[in-house]
Symmetry: C2
Subunit: 282 residues, 2 copies
């Protein structure tokens, strides 16, 4: 596995690969790799000739009061894991390489970035769209792999790719969970053992909601209430939001129909966890 720190070198390497007719797959990450990331890398490797992974903790997507500085950066362990997953090129740029001074240009996806996490993290998706736009121009992949764990991010980036005509196919991969059902997250390391046990309640409440809908529940308010009550009863977490939305557009639902995304964000101390589940009605 080659580790590349320069944008120019990265662009040169993929241009060469593409001229040789190689199919390039790309997994962007912020490092602190866990089985969720690794499942994307392994799938990328199966489906492409060249697997590129980026590790970049993107300052532009953190708010001023958020955990940019504290975000885990286990560089050595990450390199070992990426190598074992069969990654060909690890792109690992510095902040200055990605945002040289003066930096002026941002990509914004309107409307679908305003609700859910967007409401609690103003500017977050502007930072995400901008850095992924940059990475797509640097890595020029044929296929971009994203995780369903960040459901809003995946919808926003699909819209960006479509709107700006990036010549790439987006594949969204399923959430990887621990044995207790809790979604794997780089931020789980912040949790106390007690909070980590409670984190599994998020998934159980989502699963219960899904089963309710599948058994015929048609009141979204009741579904959301059920999740909120269970989280408040069984955990010490504070709820940012629990919402049922259209899985493709993230718009509010007028009735229980089609592909539904039930998503939530809960804070344990200063650690914010997100999780979601998809429900297909008819």
């Amino acid at each position: 596995m080659r580790v590349i720190r320069s944008v120019k070198t990265m662009q040169r390497l993929v241009s060469q690969a593409r001229r040789q007719g190689k199919r390039v797959g790309f997994v962007p990450t912020m490092g602190a790799l866990h089985e969720g990331h690794l499942s994307l890398m392994r799938r990328c490797r199966r489906e492409n000739d060249l697997t590129v992974v980026s590790i970049f903790v993107n300052p532009a997507q953190f708010g001023p009061t958020e955990d940019f500085k504290a975000y885990p950066r286990p560089v050595k362990a990450d390199q070992r894991l990426a190598g074992k997953a069969g990654v060909d090129i690890l792109f690992y740029p510095s902040d200055k390489e990605m945002y040289p001074d003066p930096y002026r240009t941002y990509i914004e996806v309107e409307k679908m970035t305003e609700n859910l996490c967007g409401k609690f993290r103003p500017g977050h998706f502007k930072g995400v769209a901008t850095v992924v736009g940059k990475l797509l121009n640097i890595v020029q992949p044929d296929v971009l792999y994203l995780g369903q764990k960040d459901a809003q991010q995946a919808v926003v980036l699909k819209q960006m790719v479509r709107d700006l005509n990036f010549p790439v196919t987006v594949k969204v991969c399923p959430i990887v969970r621990g044995p207790d059902g809790a979604a794997l997250s780089s931020r789980n390391v912040y949790l106390t053992p007690q909070e980590r046990r409670q984190a599994a309640v998020l998934f159980r409440s989502l699963q219960e909601a899904k089963e309710k809908i599948q058994s015929g529940e048609r009141s979204l308010a009741a579904v959301v209430q059920g999740i909120r009550r269970r989280i408040l009863k069984e955990t010490s977490g504070k709820i940012d939001y629990v919402a049922c939305v259209n899985a493709q557009t993230l718009e509010p639902l007028s009735c229980v129909d089609g592909k539904i995304l039930i998503a939530l964000a809960v804070r344990f101390g200063s650690t914010r966890l997100i999780d979601n589940i998809l429900v297909q009605v008819r």
Copy 2:
């Protein structure tokens, strides 16, 4: 010359060309082609294996009170001129092909879009950056050719290309002028014969300013005043702005030094003309 109306077909054609090792040059236009555009196309043809030109009157860069509907669209004449200039592919998409509903994503270059034309045309450069970002992803050129006539646009797009890491080289080509010195513009067709004669005063006033600086004038206020006075005296135009700025950053100058851009915008009735000149001091 092939005329392509679909994004997918355009992307397929350039991907093929690039796999064959061809160097792709690209000239984006809004049509109503004149010698300014054609000079870009001929240079593009000399320097590349495949010359792609787009004609798209981009609704996103016109304000609600501007001339989007009235903008000249001489399609047949444009095709003939592009063909004669040796263009290989003319990309001529519909509004709906470029902005399918629901469209949500915009590129914004901050700060350097706030002064000069940006002050009088809010949202204009957001529309320009967005459409050129899209076109770069559709045409995937090695070289992008822009005209110096739209000086602020060229600076903004160079910043966008650098910031978002588009793998393209930007070349800015000189202004082409009529025999009287007036810059060629698709909007000149709106002018009355009298206004068309007066339009040449814009360039003469810029030239006079350049000569003053080259002869030692070091008061920017005096330079700007000289231009304003001449335009107000010799034309019926209304001045939007006359400004001396840093040619690279478009920032205000603290002293007369380095590469200076003197730029102006003047309205004749509802027709807005722009022009500019570069002065290298030392």
